[in-house]
């Protein structure tokens, strides 16, 4: 790991002031330090945000939904009995995320901003398109874990389990920099790498995620989450699915079906959502929605299995939503 300077501010103001050029914000460090050890990231200065006050913990705010501090450890959300009652798909999405140690270290903001797991990206010997090169080595090489839909020059698969769950809840992120504050839908935080956008997130230099908010309306929605791995634990998703809907008299409205592991960003299954709007979530409808989930998929030889797998997982998730 290349040596760097480190600051550990206590206040958000100090943190934002310190985040100048060549400076990287660090939360739990579980992703950043890995990239640095691999030689893929080499920041000169790091601002450790874990001491910053007011970025930890979550609260239910009357009429305004749930606010989660960006530095809240994933373990805190996963193990919260109260959150399990209020927003069950959030703890469910974290139950199989990484390992207990990583959930104790990793934070909500860090999880959303984690970089992809492409083995070519993470090997500094490959000058891949995302790192400024001209080729996607995975497309021509080993891509069993890579994206099957929505990819352009780069076929990374979105690794977060939490992001699909938050998007299914219409969550937003609050971003702050020394100069400005803005709010984005969680979906808008993610960028399909393409053209001049050789990046995965829309966060700007100097900005940090301060909090994540789930709107009040989402609290009334039913939710379900499923993740398929190729080991029983401690694997990134082959496919993950988060779904939510308003259910009334067996009929689903305002559906959100979001997949992880299939596209460079958390993938909204728009056609499936539209098909199900106003329908009962019965076997046939859920199966049809599963078939529609990855409409437009362009799988490669080694990852074609993800298409039927995603369809099946969507079908099951929707059925469990109805129960």
């Amino acid at each position: 790991m290349r040596p760097f300077s480190l600051a550990r501010p206590r206040s958000l103001g100090d943190a934002l002031r310190l985040l100048g050029p060549d400076t990287t914000a660090m939360a739990g460090g579980t992703d950043l330090l890995g990239l640095m050890k691999a030689g893929v990231a080499e920041p000169e200065r790091i601002v450790d945000l874990t001491q910053v006050e007011d970025l930890q913990g979550w609260q239910r705010e009357r009429g305004k939904g749930v606010r989660i501090g960006a530095l809240t450890p994933l373990a805190e959300l996963e193990s919260s009995e109260e959150l399990r009652r209020v927003l069950p798909i959030l703890p469910a999405s974290l139950a199989d995320a990484a390992t207990p140690q990583l959930r104790a270290m990793g934070t909500v903001g860090g999880n959303l901003l984690q970089r992809n797991r492409c083995w070519y990206y993470r090997d500094d010997a490959f000058e891949c398109w995302l790192k400024g090169g001209s080729r996607c080595f995975a497309r021509e090489g080993e891509h069993q874990y890579h994206a099957v839909v929505g990819a352009r020059e780069c076929i990374i698969a979105s690794p977060s389990d939490l992001a699909p769950a938050l998007i299914a809840l219409d969550a937003t992120v609050e971003l702050r920099s020394a100069r400005a504050a803005r709010e984005l839908g969680v979906q808008e935080l993610f960028v399909v790498p393409h053209g001049s956008q050789r990046r995965e997130h829309s966060i700007r230099p100097g900005e940090v995620i301060v909090s994540v908010r789930v709107p009040e309306a989402a609290l009334a929605r039913a939710g379900a989450f499923a993740k398929q791995m190729d080991r029983k634990a401690w694997s990134f998703a082959l496919v993950s699915v988060a779904a939510s809907a308003r259910l009334k008299g067996g009929v689903a409205r305002d559906l959100r079906i979001v997949l992880g592991g299939v596209a460079p960003v958390p993938w909204r299954a728009g056609a499936a959502e539209a098909f199900l709007e106003g329908r009962a979530l019965d076997e046939a409808a859920c199966a049809r929605a599963g078939a529609l989930a990855l409409e437009g998929a362009e799988p490669l030889p080694q990852n074609a299995y993800k298409v039927p797998l995603a369809g099946e997982l969507v079908r099951r998730t929707l059925l469990s939503l109805a129960q």
Partner: protein
């Protein structure tokens, strides 16, 4: 010009060695290490506490598990400087006056290791669990050591040891 220690004002320290004060196994420890020094390297190289093992050095195997403020974490993915003012516990800090901690004893009684290289990490994960949950089920012990790989395959005995240790400790 000497580097300034990282302080409450949040000025930058490093990239050279800088002071950091933490607590290790109940004793105050003052280190002077660069910011990129991991807690794992600080424990093993600077403090000679080699019970904590380096296996993957990238947060995937759990052999370097220690407790920081009572929670099991990977010391290879934690900066020593990020532990300023915190309490670090390693396998060397378990047990008192030559007697073994109940988890350590249960590992022996249940043959919960073979080569033993993952053992300190497994033990720390279970010690961390028992701090929060003094009557874990086998499933809860299993979940607690999900991030601790054992290549010899002592898993069934590790879970049995965790459950037995909890019973004994109560």
């Amino acid at each position: 010009m000497p580097d300034r220690p990282s302080g409450p004002t949040g000025a930058f320290a490093g990239p050279g060695p800088a002071d950091v004060a933490l607590e290790v196994n109940g004793r105050p420890v003052a280190l002077r290490v660069p910011p990129h020094r991991t807690l794992l390297d600080a424990l093993r190289e600077d403090l000679g506490l080699t019970g904590t093992k380096k296996v993957c050095d990238e947060g995937t195997c759990g052999a370097c598990t220690v407790l920081v403020d009572g929670r099991a974490i990977y010391s290879c993915m934690t900066l020593a400087h990020s532990c300023a003012g915190r309490q670090v516990e390693t396998v060397e800090g378990l047990g008192r006056d030559g007697t073994l901690h109940p988890v350590q004893q249960a590992f022996i009684d249940h043959d919960a290791f073979q080569c033993g290289f993952c053992t300190p990490g497994q033990v720390m994960s279970i010690v961390g669990l028992l701090r929060e949950n003094d009557a874990p089920t086998a499933e809860e012990v299993t979940r607690a050591v999900t991030g601790n790989l054992c290549r010899c395959g002592a898993y069934p005995n590790i879970v049995a040891a965790g459950v037995a240790a909890a019973k004994k400790q109560r």
